[in-house]
């Protein structure tokens, strides 16, 4: 087990395995048959208290989809979900490699978490606003955002609608229901609650869906969000993506070694669901339930998506420095793409050959899109963004002091 030990009465939690250890997660139960029942979405919040400690699963490892959370999705919808996850992964691989070549300052993969973003987006309406973190690019891909333009954002080039003002992956796509991502973690949770309250005030039935990693649940903003969502019955979904790791800190640092982040919602009087985040059908089902509850006036649901971050936090860290190299492989919940693929093969809608062919096709597709995007510039060469734009959009109308500074900047040339 852990190589470091507490040598005083002060307790500091440590993850079970560090580099050099042989990870063994056989103690984590994978309750295939113990999925809690699906209550009516308008049930009392306390009827879901047990769900915060269980785990909603639909896909079994043999490819079967079982239980009363099994959503009614057509094979076309399932195939699109698979394709969106594969597209997300192919894009992540390409962009990570291009960062290594110096084309952009930074990148963040969502590998292993594609079912959370894609499955969630599939169950929302197009006019539901999402408040994502930096690892939900799958929402944009599911909603059909132009991938080349996403790449341009990462390249901070002439095709970037943000004109290089934000670091890579902190996208803003209002037209695809994707709120501007903040680099300050947790801050958007309460904003999403406010957005949802505005929907309710205007008598609209669209909802908001807000995201945090498990690490940032430790921020006060998480408490604000749950408290205000409860007080004002805000029509929103509060998603905690528990991918086990906050940069190098294991989940126990965020909240001690309790069982569940979903259970945080219980004390606020919110509905709570805990779902296998590597199971696209389960993510879809939980989201569909929570969205119906919010839309009908039942208030907010906290969903913990239990998953695993298969890669580093970003291009700036090496995960083998703080966890065993083979931990992602032995994580007991499998890979979200493989699991949906196995299901589609099980129901006769897919094959290994088709899967390999699609993987190749998407790799080429992403390569072509990237080439198109890079023509508009990159950070190691010319970005084709006029530096003068840095003075714009600080305010709606540029105040005099910024006009003077812009003039000073021009004089420097």
């Amino acid at each position: 087990m852990s190589k470091r030990q507490n040598t005083s009465r002060l307790y500091v939690p440590e993850p079970p395995f560090r580099p050099g250890d042989t990870p063994d997660y056989s103690h984590i139960s994978v309750p295939a048959k113990h999925t809690p029942p699906r209550p009516d979405p308008m049930c009392d919040d306390h009827e879901t208290a047990g769900h915060a400690l269980g785990l909603i699963r639909v896909l079994r490892f043999n490819g079967e989809a079982v239980g009363d959370w099994k959503p009614k999705l057509t094979s076309e919808q399932l195939l699109k979900g698979l394709r969106d996850m594969m597209l997300t992964r192919a894009m992540d691989i390409r962009m990570f490699n291009m960062q290594r070549q110096g084309k952009m300052s930074f990148y963040m993969k969502s590998t292993g978490e594609e079912a959370v973003s894609v499955g969630h987006a599939m169950a929302l309406r197009a006019d539901d606003m999402t408040f994502p973190t930096y690892r939900q690019q799958g929402i944009l891909i599911n909603r059909g955002a132009p991938i080349a333009e996403m790449m341009c954002q990462c390249l901070s080039n002439g095709g970037d609608r943000l004109q290089g003002k934000s670091i890579p992956v902190l996208y803003s796509f209002r037209d695809f229901g994707f709120f501007s991502v903040s680099g300050n973690l947790g801050t958007q949770l309460i904003q999403g609650v406010g957005w949802a309250m505005a929907n309710a005030y205007k008598n609209e039935d669209s909802i908001a869906s807000v995201f945090t990693g498990e690490g940032a649940t430790a921020e006060g903003d998480f408490h604000y969000a749950l408290n205000f969502a409860s007080t004002y019955r805000a029509p929103c979904i509060i998603n905690v993506v528990n991918n086990q790791w906050a940069i190098s800190s294991f989940q126990g640092i965020a909240m001690g070694e309790g069982e569940s982040f979903a259970a945080r919602g219980t004390g606020y009087g919110l509905a709570t669901l805990r779902v296998d985040g590597n199971d696209l059908l389960a993510v879809y089902a939980a989201t569909e339930w929570a969205a119906e509850r919010a839309r009908k006036g039942g208030g907010a649901t906290v969903i913990e998506h239990f998953t695993y971050r298969k890669e580093g936090h970003s291009t700036s860290d090496d995960p083998t420095k703080y966890r065993p190299e083979d931990e992602p492989e032995v994580w007991p919940f499998g890979d979200p793409i493989t699991r949906l693929k196995d299901h589609l093969i099980h129901i006769g809608e897919w094959s290994e050959e088709k899967h390999l062919a699609q993987e190749k096709e998407l790799k080429l597709h992403i390569r072509d899109l990237y080439k198109e995007a890079e023509k508009m510039g990159n950070l190691s060469g010319d970005t084709h963004v006029d530096p003068l734009t840095m003075f714009e959009q600080v305010y709606g109308d540029m105040p005099d002091h910024l006009k003077r500074q812009r003039a000073n900047f021009l004089d420097e040339d």
Partner: protein, 343 residues
């Protein structure tokens, strides 16, 4: 909009009237904060608004400044015009991240896709025996934030016109209310009977909508000998000190700190050759430092004396020693006389 009628109002009534007028004309204007709903706010600024406009237009919030501002950011991004009250500026710090990192930067980081047109009202300043936690003037912590506007009225007329402009502004505005001026102008002599706004020219407030542009100072008194820059409570202390010394000073009420009316300031200092900056906030890195830097940059060759700032001391706001901390009329008079003797 008709401006034919006007009436005597104190600053509380003028601020309330601004919200009332905007709530009546724009269904997207919501007012909320701690105790602002049924009760009408600890300073009564929102009294009657819930009864008149409905529970969903003016309501109480949890004691959670970070939550109040964060909620307002989300509402504003979704098309509303929230007016949030922070009960005392001393309590605003839990909301600082939401103001500095979120409200002020949302437009920039989304390149205009999302904006945060919200107004945050909060009482500032001392003079009411509020001690360290009900007296602070944290304006300089906010004027340092790109993307935010910071406004501070000194009288009922300006308060209403500035607040209407703030609510209508497409960017976040911090609206600081000098609580010592709520009920009347304050001349910096703590032990004299207080004076009300009734009968004061700037307590005569028009009904209906009118606006005062954010970024335009008011020349309160014209003069040739010295320029005094002040805002909030210190405007009236400056006026009392100038009258008592008989020095022909020009007093400029900045009204808006960011954006700043540099044009009016520079024209005045070039004319008088002397400038004094007043604020109640602590001295080091206070807004006075910014004003002095701008003046020396733009007026250096016109200056006839060193620039002077009169401020609170660099201490927390003391309770029993409140008037020893406060830059009183007496202290300002002494500084004016010293400056004029410096020739």
């Amino acid at each position: 909009m008709s401006q034919s009628k006007s009436s005597d109002m104190n600053m509380i009534e003028a601020i309330r009237d601004a919200m009332d007028v905007k709530m009546s004309s724009d269904p997207n204007v919501l007012v909320f904060g701690e105790d602002v709903g049924y009760f009408g706010g600890v300073f009564r600024c929102t009294a009657g608004l819930q009864e008149k406009h409905g529970l969903h237009r003016c309501f109480d919030t949890p004691i959670s400044e970070g939550g109040i501002v964060g909620m307002a950011v989300g509402m504003a991004a979704n098309g509303l015009r929230p007016v949030a009250e922070i009960q005392f500026a001393d309590y605003i710090y839990p909301g600082y991240d939401q103001i500095a990192s979120e409200a002020a930067r949302l437009r920039y980081r989304s390149n205009g896709e999302f904006t945060a047109p919200l107004t945050i009202r909060t009482p500032v300043g001392g003079g009411i025996y509020g001690g360290t936690t009900h007296s602070q003037s944290p304006e300089a912590l906010f004027t340092h934030i790109a993307g935010l506007k910071t406004v501070i009225p000194s009288n009922p007329y300006d308060a209403k016109g500035l607040l209407i402009s703030a609510i209508e502004d497409d960017d976040p505005v911090l609206f600081l209310e000098p609580k010592r001026l709520y009920n009347g102008p304050f001349d910096g002599e703590p032990h004299k009977a207080s004076v009300s706004w009734a009968g004061h020219a700037l307590g005569d407030v028009p009904s209906g909508e009118y606006r005062i542009s954010l970024g335009k100072a008011r020349v309160l008194r014209e003069g040739e000998a010295l320029t005094i820059l002040a805002y909030g409570t210190m405007v009236w202390v400056a006026q009392a000190a100038v009258e008592a010394t008989g020095v022909d000073a020009e007093i400029i009420d900045l009204r808006s700190l960011l954006p700043l009316d540099l044009e009016t300031i520079v024209a005045s200092v070039k004319k008088t050759g002397r400038a004094m900056v007043l604020h109640e906030a602590t001295r080091t890195s206070g807004f006075g430092a910014e004003l002095i830097a701008e003046i020396q940059e733009h007026c250096f060759y016109y200056l006839e004396a060193p620039l002077v700032r009169v401020t609170g001391w660099d201490t927390p706001y003391p309770h029993a020693q409140e008037w020893a901390y406060f830059p009183t009329k007496e202290r300002v008079m002494r500084e004016i006389n010293d400056m004029m003797d410096a020739d």
